[in-house]
């Protein structure tokens, strides 16, 4: 197209493109500042001496950088214990649930059986039920099962897989070419063998995306632990962090230090798996 346009039009376009980009940069830099300033403020607060957070005007870079707040939070509070609890509660259902979802997704995506559509629609229908409707009756069910004040309500339901994950992976499995599968069938591999040896190795990125989102959901969950756990020694990280508000009333240096610590694992995860985050979200949106 550019070949047809004459040079003056080209120049005009270049000029407007430069303008566009300049505006974009200004907009993005202001935006990025608004996004990051609260985080920097959190970091700065967490490194200050307790009395100095009420200094006027506030200092962005503390005169003396103090690591004591982190020491206090790590030794005096139950944050570390909460972190270990979170890992124990989150990892098994993430892995087992992913397997359950994936193998169901394989059946829905690539196998034929009577009633397939009905089962699939039923599963999809569960995604439409607002979570709030389940809050009370789930509590009653777990109470009846004797699961209250244990990790079971946070772990066991997730191990059966999740409708959203089944849907996502089914879409993905449908894109795998069938030649490999046919060859494996000729070799006498069972459907389970095909799934484990052909489908899973080909789907690692999609599975990783779902694993990351599953883990993140569990790690950041606050409502579940809030409803089901009573004993402080069973508290997950988010629950422990939430108690900081009362435990360290207005001691913002300690509250911010705890918040920074709670964010570190997910930030590290994000930096190593950025691609999966972006792809996962993008694909979720595409189905809409």
């Amino acid at each position: 197209m550019a070949v047809v346009t004459n040079s003056s039009m080209n120049r005009k376009r270049n000029k407007s493109e430069i303008m566009n980009r300049a505006v974009a940069y200004v907009f993005l830099i202001i935006g990025a500042l608004i996004m990051t300033v609260p985080f920097l403020w959190m970091l700065s607060t967490s490194l200050k001496e307790p009395g100095l957070v009420f200094e006027m005007p506030p200092r962005w870079i503390p005169e003396n950088i103090i690591w004591d707040n982190y020491k206090v939070v790590l030794t005096e509070s139950d944050l570390l214990g909460g972190f270990m609890n979170t890992m124990a509660v989150t990892l098994p259902p993430t892995i087992v649930g992913l397997f359950a979802s994936a193998i169901a997704a394989y059946a829905f995506g690539r196998m034929d059986f009577p009633g397939k559509n009905i089962f699939f629609m039923a599963l999809l229908a569960t995604m439409m039920i607002p979570g709030v409707v389940l809050m009370v009756p789930s509590f009653i069910l777990y109470k009846y099962l004797g699961w209250i004040d244990s990790w079971k309500p946070l772990m066991i339901p997730g191990m059966f897989g999740a409708a959203g994950t089944v849907f996502f992976l089914r879409q993905f499995f449908k894109t795998i070419p069938s030649e490999l599968e046919d060859a494996a069938k000729m070799d006498g591999l069972s459907p389970f063998g095909i799934f484990m040896r052909i489908v899973v190795p080909l789907s690692k990125p999609a599975l990783a995306t779902q694993a990351i989102f599953g883990f993140l959901g569990g790690y950041n969950d606050y409502m579940g632990p809030l409803i089901y756990l009573n004993s402080p020694e069973k508290y997950t990280l988010q629950l422990v962090l939430a108690t900081f508000q009362d435990a360290y009333n207005a001691e913002w240096t300690l509250i911010m230090a705890g918040s920074v610590l709670a964010l570190i694992p997910t930030v590290i995860l994000f930096f190593f798996a950025q691609r999966y985050f972006i792809e996962g979200i993008t694909l979720t949106g595409m189905k809409g």
Binding site: F39, P130, Y222, S259, V260
Partner: protein, 320 residues
Amino acid sequence: MSSSSYLFPRKRESNMTRSLSLKQDNPIGAKRRFNKDYVWAYLFISAPIVGFMIFGFIPLSYSVYISFTKFDGFNAPDLNGLENYRLLFQDPLIWKTTVNTFYAALGIPIGMVISLGIAIALNQKIAGINFFRTAFFLPTISSVVALTLLWKWVFNSDFGILNQLLGYAGIQGPAWLNEENWAMPAMIIQGVWGGLGFNMVLYLAALQGVPATLYEAAEMDGASKWQRFRYITVAGISPTTFFILVTAIIGALQDFVRFRIMTGGGPNFSTMTSVYYLFENAFRYMNMGFASAMAWVLGIVIMIITLINFLMSKRWVHYE
């Protein structure tokens, strides 16, 4: 291919004919093999289906019943007909929390416009796109608890950074979370800030999916910048706008955690949302029957709004 692979099906075929020979001679040998695969398939889908039955269908059905009873979670539920539903319409806090919930949802269009702006800016072949993307995305991966504690500190009326910055501009900031009129705007600001990254990623992908040839053709036809934006960009990304709108509304109508940590629903119930009030009824006052009735009404409202969204979408969402 090895010879064993030929042997295997042959062996199966002989099994096959033996079992079917009574009825008819079936030389295809496909039926039996399929049946065996059915068993595999049912086994494969069993976990989510069983999980849905136990943790979805049973509690859901039970909660319909509970919503017609007086139930404290300990003693046996006591049937009281439509009493809970009648009380729903008389409880002044139900109305207040409903209005609050919709007020808080005003953040949705604001957030969508800003995140589209960011996505458009990022789409201009910007250097440092990774830095910007990470900056906007950080809240998305952060825990709600940490973020809300952080914002409580940002909104602190005396020592918070927001009023400090406003002070530099000569503005005396309000006491945000402690003022009845300012607490909800503060929550909207926090919500918009936290949701930008997710929507921005979706919009960026959508923008990259709009064919460049459309823009070139429109430019050749003399379409203005605004016309190109309005008729190509906005139309091209409308499926994504629709997806964000639907999921954001469903999420906003159930928003609760950040309110519980940041404001506790106050001051004077000005930031108590529907689900927060439901939670209080269920787990604080132990009115589980009433809470179940609330949940069903809210659930049905959510489903109706989603349905309306889908019906309206035919007018403005353009699929290729």
